[in-house]
C-alpha cells in the first residue's frame, strides 16, 4: 500500500514519540493522585508511630489526656468527634432532606432554580464563617436561652452510668451541643443540595408511573423515588458525615477545647480536628506531642476514609444503574 506521495504506510507503525510521552505524562498525573493519598496515610502513621509505641492500644482506648504528665489517650477526642458529627447529621439530615423534597416537588417552578442556586452557594461559604457565627451568636444564645431551659426540661432523665448526665451542665454556651449545631448548619446546604441532585436523577417516567396510579406527591416520594435512589441518598448523608468528622474551623471556637470525657451533651469537649489545631503550636518537631497529633490525624484519616469510601460506593452504585 502506498500513499499519494508514494510513501509506504507499511512499517510506519511504531510508537510515536509525542503520543507516548503524552500518555506517560497523563498516567503519571493519575498516579500522583494515588501516591498523595498513600503518602498521607504513610506519613501520618510514621509520624504517629511514637505515640502508638509509647501508649500501645491505650492510645486509642485511654480516656486520660494530661500534657503535664505526658500521658495522652485519644478516646476523649474520638468521643467528641463522633458525638458532634452524629448529632449534626441527626439534625441536618431530616431538614436537608425536607429542603430537597421541597425543591424537587413542591416549590413553584419559578423559584426552583434561584433557591437551588442559593443552597449551593451557601454550601460554598468558608467554614470559618460558620465558626464565627457559632462563637459570637450561637454560643451566647445557647448559654442564655436554650441551655437552662433544656437542663430543666430533661432533669428527669436518668444518667448513663454514673458519669453522663445528658443535659445537665453549667450554662457555658460552648460545648458539644453548640458545636453540633454549628456543624449541622454548615452541612445543611451540602446535604440538601446533594439529596436534591439524587432525587432529580430519578427518571421522570418512574414518577409519572406513580402519579398515574393515583399516588400523592408524598406517596410517590416514599414509594417510588426513595426505593429507586436509596443508596445514593445514604451516600449523600455519609458524604455529609465525612465533612462533619473532619471539620476544624467551624467548631474550634465553640467546642470548648476540654480534652476529657464529656459528662453531658453541653459539656466543653474536643474533637480530633480541634485538638490537632489547638495543640499544634506547642508541639515541637520530634516531640511526643507532635507524634500524638499525627497519631490522632492517622485515626481521623482512617475513620473519614471509611466513611467517604462508603459514601462514594453508595453514590456510584446507582450512577451505574
Amino acid at each position: 500500500m502506498t500513499t499519494a506521495a508514494g510513501k509506504s504506510l507499511i512499517g510506519t507503525r511504531k510508537p510515536h514519540l509525542a503520543d507516548s510521552s503524552f500518555r506517560v505524562s497523563l498516567y503519571v498525573a493519575g498516579a500522583v493522585v494515588v501516591v498523595v493519598l498513600a503518602s498521607i496515610l504513610l506519613i501520618m502513621f510514621m509520624g504517629g508511630r511514637q505515640a502508638f509505641e509509647t501508649f500501645g492500644l491505650g492510645f486509642v482506648w485511654s480516656t486520660e489526656w494530661n500534657p503535664v504528665t505526658s500521658v495522652y489517650g485519644a478516646l476523649p477526642a474520638i468521643t467528641g468527634t463522633l458525638i458532634t458529627a452524629f448529632t449534626a447529621i441527626l439534625i441536618a439530615w431530616p431538614i436537608g432532606f425536607g429542603i430537597a423534597f421541597f425543591l424537587t416537588e413542591i416549590c413553584p417552578l419559578s423559584l426552583r432554580a434561584p433557591l437551588g442556586i442559593a443552597i449551593e452557594l451557601l454550601a460554598a461559604i468558608p467554614s470559618i464563617v460558620y465558626g464565627m457565627w457559632g462563637f459570637f451568636v450561637l454560643a451566647p444564645f445557647m448559654a442564655d436561652n436554650v441551655q437552662p431551659w433544656l437542663t430543666e426540661l430533661f432533669a428527669w432523665l436518668p444518667p448513663v452510668g454514673d458519669s453522663f448526665f445528658w443535659f445537665s451542665a453549667p450554662p457555658l454556651g460552648v460545648g458539644l451541643m453548640t458545636a453540633s449545631l454549628v456543624l449541622a448548619v454548615m452541612i445543611l446546604p451540602f446535604i440538601a443540595a446533594t439529596s436534591r441532585d439524587v432525587m432529580l436523577s430519578t427518571p421522570q417516567l418512574l414518577k409519572d408511573g406513580a402519579y398515574a396510579m393515583g399516588a400523592t406527591r408524598w406517596e410517590t416520594l416514599t414509594g417510588v423515588v426513595i426505593p429507586a435512589v436509596r443508596g445514593s441518598l445514604f451516600g449523600a448523608v455519609f458524604l455529609g458525615l465525612g465533612r462533619a468528622l473532619g471539620e476544624t474551623m467551624a467548631i474550634v471556637f465553640v467546642i470548648g477545647n476540654a480534652t476529657r470525657m464529656p459528662d453531658s451533651l453541653f459539656a466543653p469537649s474536643a474533637s480530633i480536628a480541634s485538638v490537632v489545631a489547638n495543640n499544634f503550636p506547642e508541639a515541637e518537631p520530634g516531640s511526643i506531642q507532635l507524634a500524638v497529633l499525627l497519631g490522632l490525624g492517622f485515626i481521623l484519616f482512617v475513620v473519614s476514609f471509611g466513611v467517604l469510601a462508603l459514601a462514594r460506593l453508595l453514590l456510584r452504585q446507582e450512577r451505574m444503574a
Partner: protein, 287 residues
Amino acid sequence: MKTLAPHTKARHFRRQAIDMFMSGLCIAAAGIGLIMLALILWMLFSKGAAGLSLDVFTKPMSSTGTGGGLANAIVGSLIQVGIGSMIGAPLGMMVGVYLSEVGKNSRFASIVRFVNDILLSAPSVLIGLFVYQVAVAPFGSFSGIAGALALALLAMPVVARTTEDILRLVPQAYRDGAIALGSRENEVVRKVILPAAFGGILTGILLAVARIAGETAPLIFTSLGNTNWSTDLTKPMASLPIAIYRYAGSPSADLIQLAWTGALLITVGVLMLNVVSRISLAAMRRG
C-alpha cells in the same frame, strides 16, 4: 365517574392529610433552613461592612492589638492561592484528561477516580498536617510555599473531577472526526477536545480557587501566618483566613471587627467566583 366506596373515601382523606402534613413539614424545613442561613449571611454583611475602610486594604496587620488593616493578609492569600492554583490546576486537568480520554473504565482509572473522590472530601486539616511533615518540618521553617502546596493538593481533586465531567460532555463525534482525519491521540486532545471544553475546564478551576481561598485549617500547619509584610515564599506568610482565625479569638474589639471584615471579604470573593462559574457553566450547557 364511578362513585367511591365510603372506606375508600375515608382512606383518601387520610392520604391527602398525610401528604399535606408532610409537605407542610418540608416547607417548614426549607423555611427554617433558608431563614437560618439568611440570618448568618445578614450578620456577616452587617458586621463586616461596618469595618470596611481604605485602611483595611492599605495597612498591614497590626502587632500591637489596635488599628492596622489586612493588606498583607490579602496579598499573602492572593500569592498562596495563586501559586496553589498554578500547581493544582494543571495537575488536576491532566488527571481529568487521563480519566476521560485514556484511562476511561480501566482498572487503574477506576482506582484513580475513587481515590480522587476521597481526596475531594478528605479533611483539610489532614492535608495541612501532611504538608507540615513533608515541606515544613524537614526545612525547619513555616513557609508561604508550603501553604501554597497544601492549597494545591486541595485544588487538584476539584479540577480533576470537573475536567473529567466536562470532557465527557464533548460529543464522541469530535473525537471520531479528528481520528478519521489521521490525528494522533495527543493532537486530538490538545487541538480538538481541550479547546471544545476550554470554558468548562476554566469554570472548574474557578470553583477550585473558590474552594481553597477560604481554607483555614491547612494554613495553620504550613504558612502559619505573619503580622508583618512578607512576600518571601520561604518565610511564614500572612493570609486572610489565618488573620480571621487569630483575630476572632482575640480580646480586642478592633481586631474582632477586622476579623468580621476579613470574613466578609473572603465570603464575597468566594460567592462571586461561584456565581461567575455557574453563569458561564449554564451558558455553556445552553450553547
